[in-house]
Symmetry: C2
């Protein structure tokens, strides 16, 4: 007899985006992890470079974790791999390009030697323990993107990864309908589908539709052309290289990550260019502007990127001049809108002509819109549907779509990060919740915010800080010196009349109860903090952070 | 003989948006100010409520400032009035509704008695000194919006204010083509036009186009309906009131600003509703959900707004339940996208059905798109064109439009805030620059950031802070106590091995050069700050703010 619940699903994303960065699938006793990516911090996480999932659950069950399968090579799917593998050294399976990208990453972290990395070809099934896995091609904004099929006794589990349907992709590899249809014919138990664009009507246009407009912008440019795009958007580089060839321009790459990706993509055969078309930046600078295209990153307004430095006129080698054409072949990731807008403003101020998705047809997205998602559902015809890869509203939109094509609400699960679903051939239900504490990465440091450091920082950033140091005789708690009062980011202290004096008085008042007895620094700190905070609020309607440092002197 | 340059133009906006919040026009010896609005802070201005223009130039020339003309009653056009009038008490001219709104505002600031407020009817010219002014109607997302025509010997100056062309506005008042045509026939020297939507192709849809979809959503709702919109969007309230009447629902307003605006709009005749249709929130709560519509603010995800409290399930009177329908009749102001998205996610989690401009046709904008702007230019046929109201890229887009309809580049000025243009009947040129220092408003306090307090706050928010207090003998600079070291928002201090100890060592080392001589607190502070900062960077790759407090003891 089949067990009642033999498949367990746990999305282990960091926060916000659900299931994108890490999805856990347990079949019988084996745990398979899909993706190990990073999330980019929101504006209330100052100083955080990125966020990764809390993998305590995997560590607790490490004997059962058999593999990490990677759908594609974007940071939000592979970026956490070094952190995960250093805690949990399990074999990794990925396509060829993805493998190339994680090789670079793991080498940087000094982990390459100890890791087991397997290259998987699409449609070549392989076993992990008792479980058969098959990768199949999907279109996305990086080559070699894969969906994953996992066979279980109750039917296949199909995961789309990030995908779109592109009938005319630049690299020629289409989303594999044949495999999806074959899997459907044999019976699909669960479908996980990308929900990023589930709110967007219609179809996402093909990568080919922007080839013409980008080529026209390059053809019409009189001077230098700078194309900014994502470092991993290999097909966009192909469009630029083809256009450069056609219009007799050389291409130089500004920025290390993009240069490395271009080299690797050419070497591995994902990018085709005659060798003489690519020149170094040094060589490019010597050519007339009408003979150059520069490829650069910086489409998200990242302050240290080449494009942003150019826009601020502080790039070492490149100064934007009237006659330059800048093509931003990208769109802002939510949260970056203002930075991108500022970059465009600054480029225009320097006299450049700027084309972006705001005013030209120079970018398409890599995720399926509503009609594509309906097509997927109608091809795969799963028993259960779990929308993933999106924030809550995107999952809801995808779930609603699934109902319109005929799935019953009971067979659709909206599963937030940390919620556990148990599924068998007959039913699916949410049965448990694992509390997750996201892990923040700042530089080389990984930390969890159990002591609310981010809250502290945000509070200072809103209202500033007042630091007070007090030197007291340790036996009598008598003042040995006037309190030293310093503000940071709180201009009121020195602007509001007598505020320094009033603060000093409050400190003295707070100490009155304490003098004469042995120094009780904990309560002194508490009292001074409370009374000064109250007084400052009364005087300024602000609540700066009050930091009290007590110095006992014998 | 006409003087070479007899008209001077100075946009005095705060930052970013150009000319929207305040525009200065000087004709002969008279200075006319158009609008006195606020700007909303960007994310790198933590703790700032809003930003107003630097009006030093007006104060320096206060004898010549004759009037402030207000185009319409939105905060970004009237919000700074209390601050400006308290420095510079000049007569204000505005339409009837705008006058009602500034009355409320000035009363709150205790300034109403001392101010001279004039109500201006459209198409009734009036004199300010030697200058004739005429207001004329334009459509925008608040009633009684006005364009302004100023007569000069060299032709009229026409300012559109914020505007769109709406052939079927809900309130029946259309953009006044007749006046624009008459002004054009007599000759327009300068046209200032709203550039907010100069990047958007086509026409902005009419307010009427959303009446049907909003009514349908209300008709189909089984339970309670909550419509969230801007407190000043009176025509949107009319749509809701009409729909409530049709579907036999009562309307209650949640939130003070919206309730006040609704009352005033009804009283002044801008809003039409049978009295019994509007009920108090208390009454509404007693009715079945199918009989209620709640009007609320909070469309920008403002943390203290009614809608956001409901979405977090911590509103005192209203709990969102499955069956509720929420209509967000609005779109996010740039910068608020994430907050709005989070609010929608949270409402969905509570089981509400949510309609917003993401998935339904429930909002239109109040600004002219490209075809409307071309029509305006072709009706007005100005000699000179100055695009205003937008960030730099919007002005560039509007300037390019003007070229496509036949203006020569020499007759188009892109005039950033603080730049001065001198214009006569023959030519227009940028002749000067006035440095502007925006004024930040936090609570009741107005301040300029000459000492970079915001930079300080942002630095702490990214990397945290380490405060060190040192008690020293004032004659010998000997330590009287171990340094007290406290971190805030810098978890590394207590997590990295020996870091507190290392910091203490560095403090001792820094003091070595100073012991034995009279306490030189300035240099001690400098040395300790520098050496500790360097050490912390070496150990953690972070640069927290290091705050040193020296306590001299005799």
């Amino acid at each position: 007899m089949e067990e009642l619940h033999n498949i367990r699903i746990v999305p282990l994303g960091g926060f916000g985006e659900i299931g994108r960065n890490m999805m856990v699938i347990e079949i019988f006793d084996e745990i398979i992890v899909i993706d190990a990516g990073v999330l980019f911090p929101s504006s209330d996480m100052p100083g955080v470079d990125f966020v990764i999932s809390d993998i305590s659950y995997l560590i607790q069950n490490q004997d059962r974790v058999k593999a990490i399968l990677l759908t594609h090579g974007h940071e939000d799917h592979i970026g956490a791999l070094p952190y995960v593998l250093s805690e949990l050294n399990v074999p990794v399976y990925s396509s060829r390009l993805t493998n190339g990208l994680i090789n670079v990453k793991l080498r940087e972290h000094g982990l390459l030697q100890q890791c087991v990395l397997n290259i998987v070809e699409p449609n070549v099934p392989f076993m992990i323990g008792k479980i058969e896995i098959e990768f199949f091609r999907v279109c996305h904004s990086i080559p070699d993107s894969m969906g994953i099929a996992i066979q279980t006794p109750a039917g296949a589990i199909v995961h789309t990864g990030d995908f779109k349907i592109d009938h005319t992709p630049i690299d020629g590899y289409k989303t594999d309908f044949a495999t999806l249809s074959r899997l459907a014919a044999d019976g699909v138990l669960i479908l996980f589908a990308d929900s990023t664009y589930a709110e967007i009507d219609g179809y996402t246009p093909s990568e080919s539709t922007i080839q013409g407009p980008i080529d026209l912008n390059i053809a019409e440019a009189q001077g230098r052309v700078i194309v900014a795009t994502f470092a991993s958007l290999i097909s966009r580089m192909q469009i630029v290289l083809d256009s450069a060839h056609k219009h007799n321009r050389k291409v130089a790459v500004v920025g290390k990550s993009m240069r490395n990706n271009l080299k690797m993509a050419i070497k591995m055969g994902y990018l085709h260019a005659e060798p003489e078309i690519i020149v170094s930046l040094k060589q490019a600078i010597k050519l007339p502007g009408s003979k150059i295209i520069l490829l650069a990153t910086g489409t998200q307004g990242e302050p240290t990127s080449a494009l942003v430095r150019m826009s601020r006129d502080d790039h070492k080698e490149i100064s934007i001049v009237p006659g330059d054409t800048v093509i931003l072949s990208s769109s802002p990731i939510p949260g970056n809108e203002s930075l991108v807008a500022k970059t465009i403003d600054d480029l225009l101020r320097l006299g450049a002509t700027v084309f972006s998705s705001r005013n030209a047809n120079v970018h398409v997205h890599g995720h399926a819109a509503r009609e594509e998602l309906k097509l997927l559902l109608n091809i795969v015809r799963p028993k259960f549907f779990i929308p993933v890869h999106g924030e809550y509203r995107h999952l809801v939109a995808n779930a609603e779509l699934a109902q319109t094509v005929g799935l019953t609400p009971d067979n659709i699960l909206i599963l937030e990060n940390g919620y556990v679903a148990d599924i068998n051939s007959k039913q699916a239900s949410i049965t448990d919740y694992i509390p997750l504490e996201p892990v923040f990465i700042s530089g080389q440091k990984a930390w969890q915010d159990s002591d609310f450091q981010l809250q502290s920082r945000n509070r200072i950033s809103k209202s500033g800080l007042v630091a007070i140091s007090i030197t007291l005789q340790s036996q009598t708690a008598d003042f040995l010196s006037a309190p030293n009062i310093v503000a940071y980011g709180f201009p009121e202290l020195n602007e509001v009349e007598d505020l320094v004096e009033k603060t000093s008085q409050v400190v003295h008042f707070a100490l009155e109860n304490h003098t004469g007895s042995v120094l009780d620094w904990y309560n002194i700190k508490e009292d001074v903090t409370r009374l000064v905070t109250e007084m400052l609020y009364k005087e300024t309607r602000k609540r700066p952070v009050v930091l009290v440092l007590v110095q006992p002197v014998d």
